[in-house]
Every structure is written in structure tokens, then in C-alpha cells.
Symmetry: C2
Subunit: 318 residues, 2 copies
């Protein structure tokens, strides 16, 4: 469950007074924050505490993460000069991630660690918009209006992402997950034209890495078959996409898809919905139970624990 930490009092305590990007660059803290949801909930895998802008910052690009807002970029990418000035990521730039993974693996024991990175479209959207965006207007304006520049930008981001994920694999993560959070804003035709080649660079670039590759975005019911072509072994789906449909249209195992907002309801509402997700997943060729998006910060941690327990109970009986 991505961002499960955000709802934990021990997370808020550990992060107190430490900015997000500073936390991501402190191996001891990354280790602690990665482990917290495993300790608390007994989940079957840990996900590396990080942010999709970490490789950009590590390479020397100037940006900040503003609490309650997200990444904010003082000088957004707009021109060919801006793209040309984007720094390249050297593996040594993210030595702190290698170190953090080493510390974390030593603590995790048999629990596998999932590495992660943001996909080129989603990272490009932050770079061009200068922050989070509802409609991705500037991103699409550049994409539609300056296609060669768009491809140049995404090729650079794909290279950076691939480098970053290779570092994580070399450090020992057991699985990698590529998040294209906002790709759902595109039609399938546009996704194929402007995005798929670059996500393919990343995911196919890891074909020989020996770890399963998960690919996920929000609101991608109409894109999943195309996203599967990028080279993912597992496709994540949010609650809008029925798991059986996700599985049948992609021919892949699927991960998902309980709406994290369901966790705000009482247990007698949550329980049948967790069971329904598991039942739908059981009808596919392979299902990893998960939420359909990150954990909302206001979620009751005890509710997460109950969900994990129920998933384990039902899975053990299956």
C-alpha cells in the first residue's frame, strides 16, 4: 500500500521538522519510514520511501516539495534550452538510495522490497506545469505543439528513470514499480504516440534485470492494454477499472484496486468491499491485493491493519 506511512503517528513523529526531500536523502530515515508500515500492518512487501522527483533533485535540478501541494518548480521547463539544460543522472548521484536500500534490506529479512520511480509523462507534467495540475494544459500544449521537443524531454527523463531503477535493482530491490500517475489524462491514441515509447524505454530496459516490473496509473481503464505493451509484468488498476477487465484486456496479473476512500467508512462497509476485490481478483490469472491509489493521510491506521489481516485470512483459505 503506497504512502501507507502518511497515516501513521510514528511517521509524523519521525518526519517532524524534516522536509520531504531531506527525508528522502537520509538513508537512516528512508529505512525507518520504509519499515514502519511493515511493522505496523504486517504487509507482504515494503515499498521504498521516496518521491518521483528524487532522481531529478539528485541530478541537480532545482525544485521543492511543498507540504499539502507537492512538487513545486521555480523555473518550469518550457523551451528547447530548458530541455537541453536538464541534468543527467549518474548512478553516484543517488548513492544515498543505494545506502538506504542496503539498510532497509538488512532489517526486512524475508519481506521483499519494492523499488519505484515516476514514468516520463508524469514527471514531465510536473516539470512543465511547475507543480500539480488538474488539466495538464501546458504539458499537452508542449506535447501537441512541439512534438520533437516533447520526445527529447521524455527521452531524457526515460534515461534518468532507467538509471535510477537500475541503481535500485543493483542495490537489491525485489520488484520495481513504475508510476505514470497522470497518464490517464490522455486518449489511448495519444498515449501510444507520445508516452508509450518512453515508458517502453524504461520497462524494456529492465527486461534483463531479473525483477518483476509493475506499471500503474490512475484512471487508466482505457489505457491498460497499451500500458501492458510497455513491458510490465503486472498492471496496477484503480477502483474505476474492474480487475477482471484489467486482467482480460492486458493478459497480465493485476494489482489493486480498493478505493482508498472506502477506508473512511465503518468496518461493516469496508469488509464486504475487501472481500469483493479478492473475489474479483481470484477470477484472474494472478492478483496482488492493493489499494487503487495511495493511502490518504487521514486514514485510520487500525483500519489498514484490519484490511491486511482480512486479506491474509481470506488468502490463506484460498
Amino acid at each position: 500500500m503506497r504512502q501507507a506511512g502518511r497515516s501513521l503517528p510514528e511517521y509524523r513523529k519521525a518526519r517532524a521538522g524534516i522536509a520531504m526531500l531531506d527525508a528522502c536523502r537520509r538513508p537512516d530515515l528512508v529505512c525507518e519510514l520504509t519499515l514502519q508500515p511493515v511493522r505496523r500492518h504486517g504487509v507482504d512487501a515494503a515499498i521504498l520511501f521516496s518521491d518521483i522527483v528524487v532522481p531529478l533533485v539528485a541530478a541537480g535540478f532545482e525544485l521543492d516539495i511543498v507540504p499539502g501541494t507537492g512538487p513545486v518548480i521555480a523555473h518550469p521547463v518550457a523551451t528547447a534550452e530548458d530541455v537541453a539544460r536538464l541534468p543527467r543522472l549518474e548512478p553516484d548521484d543517488v548513492g544515498f538510495v543505494t545506502e538506504a536500500i542496503g539498510l532497509t534490506l538488512a532489517e526486512l529479512g524475508q519481506v521483499p522490497l519494492i523499488g519505484f520511480a515516476g514514468a516520463p509523462f508524469t514527471v514531465a507534467s510536473y516539470l512543465i506545469e511547475g507543480g500539480p495540475s488538474r488539466n495538464h494544459e501546458k504539458t499537452k500544449a508542449l506535447m501537441y505543439g512541439a512534438e520533437p521537443l516533447w520526445h527529447e524531454l521524455c527521452a531524457r527523463l526515460a534515461e534518468m528513470t532507467l538509471t535510477f531503477l537500475r541503481v535500485q535493482v543493483a542495490a537489491g530491490v525485489a520488484v520495481v514499480q513504475l508510476f505514470d500517475s497522470w497518464a490517464g489524462a490522455l486518449s489511448e491514441a495519444d498515449y501510444r504516440r507520445y508516452v508509450l515509447p518512453h515508458s517502453t524505454t524504461v520497462l524494456q530496459g529492465l527486461a534483463d534485470a531479473g525483477v518483476p516490473r509493475i506499471h500503474f496509473g490512475v484512471g487508466t481503464a482505457h489505457l491498460l492494454p497499451a500500458m501492458a505493451e510497455a513491458g510490465a509484468d503486472v498492471l496496477g488498476a484503480d477502483w474505476r477499472t474492474p480487475l477482471d477487465l484489467a486482467a482480460s484486456t492486458t493478459g497480465r496479473p493485476v494489482q489493486g484496486n480498493l478505493d482508498p476512500c472506502v477506508l473512511f467508512a465503518p468496518w461493516d462497509v469496508v469488509e464486504p468491499r475487501v472481500r469483493a476485490v479478492l473475489a474479483e481478483g481470484a477470477g484472474t490469472s494472478g492478483h496482488i491485493f492493493n489499494l487503487g491509489h495511495g493511502v490518504h493521510p487521514a486514514t485510520d491506521p487500525d483500519m489498514l491493519t484490519r484490511v491486511v489481516d482480512l486479506v491474509h485470512e481470506v488468502s490463506a483459505r484460498a
Copy 2:
């Protein structure tokens, strides 16, 4: 093209110093702002200048529209008492809309006028969140966690919306459009359980009104068949949903679906995309060309005029 006015200098001039909600309540200004895109672009229909919160405000609910943000509600709806306190809309409360429609029709001549209102889910989301929201967390928390209260709230909003649209029909609009902008945030199963009954109250309640009913939301590829069941004669689709799929899964004529962000690109990019939408629409049993969402304020008005001209040119030849 909804919100086409926002990109016009004559719109900004007419609105200068006048708050959105004040503009919506001044019949002379509503008439002028409704007419501007027709004069400028020669579109085939006008859409009433209004906002989805207008009936709420007219009924006496306190809220504001903040420029650059949207509706902001000082005391969001959270409890049974809040729902019980929601004012009812009497037709006389929106006499200014009747007057505005009268003035507008007198100026429009043969050009039909489209009335509009927000659907219960989307209006409820603003009321509960207190403003625009990315994840609709509080809305879903109430929906999942307090289902009877949710249905009571939506039943009241449906009644209000139906009253508001009946006033518009009585005043002479030729078409009504019901916007459920954010319904795409739900799975089809949840849409059917929590939303469809209330949108049906509105749209079926207008079955005898003698005007076509258009129903639209953003990111609704997975919901269109369910949305069609609410009683719409025409389904709007955004650019994520191929028009042929929208038509075949709903059995209805479709409206859409050029991505308004495409209009930021040069004409040699825009032109083939407009032609592609028209070609896709020509393969259905009925197509109304439109954008897939409102016009972005930064759009070049001349680009909109060129698009309208091209649609007319291609349609005249078909």
C-alpha cells in the same frame, strides 16, 4: 463549446469588476455573455451563462466563487443537520434566470439555447468538500459511511436541479444539459448505487418536457452505459473515450470530444485532429461536434473560430 466565453477579451471586459455569482444573477449580463461566443465564432447553439452552484445560491445557501479556485463553501455539509438545513429551490428564486433566458432568446433568433445544471453527485462533492477536490475524499467518506444521509442529500439536490431545469425549459431553452463533471471518480458499481438514482430523478423528470437532454462528465469511459440509463437522449464524452465506443456502448447520439488542450497547438496539428473527431463521429448514428471539456481561458479565440469554420465546412460537404 462550454465556457467558450472565458477566452474572449470582450468577456473579460464585460465581467471586469463583477463577481461570477453577481454576473450570473444579472439578466442583461447573462444575455450578453451567452451571446458573445455565438457572435464571435458562429457556433450552432448558445449555452446559458451560469454556474452549477447558481440554484444553491438562489435558494439561499451561502457560498462564494473564488476566481482561479471555483466554488468555496464556508460551512461544508457534513451532518444530518446540515442536510436538513439545505434550502429548497422555489421557481421564483431563479426568476433572474427566466428573465435572462427571455432576453437571450430575443437576441438569438434561430440559434437554439442550451440550458444547464450540475448533477447531484458533482454538486454534492462541492458541498461536502467545501470546494474543488482531486480525490473527493470527504464526499466518498460520507457516501460510503453514511449511505442514507448521502441519498437524502442527493435526493434534495436532484429535486433542486429538476426545479431549476424546469424553469429553464418553461423559459424557452431548446435543449438541457446535465453536467456530472466528477462522476468519473467512481466505479460503475458505485455510480449505479449512489448516483444513478438521483441523476435519473432529474433526467426522467424531464422526459415530458419536450426538449433533448444531454448528459456529460469527465473521464466517464467506464460509466457511459450507466449514465445513458439515467434518461439522457445524448451522451457527452471527453477525449479519453473514443466516440464510436461511446455511441456503441450507449446506443445514443454522442457529443464531443476534441481535447481542449489541442487548441494550444498550431493549426497544422489542430486541423487533422478536428477532422479525425468528425470522421469518428460520422461513423455513429448521430454526432454533435464539441470539445471534450470546457474551453481553457488561455485559448486563442481565433483558433476556436477556425475550428468552428472547419466543422461547418466539413459538415456541409457530408
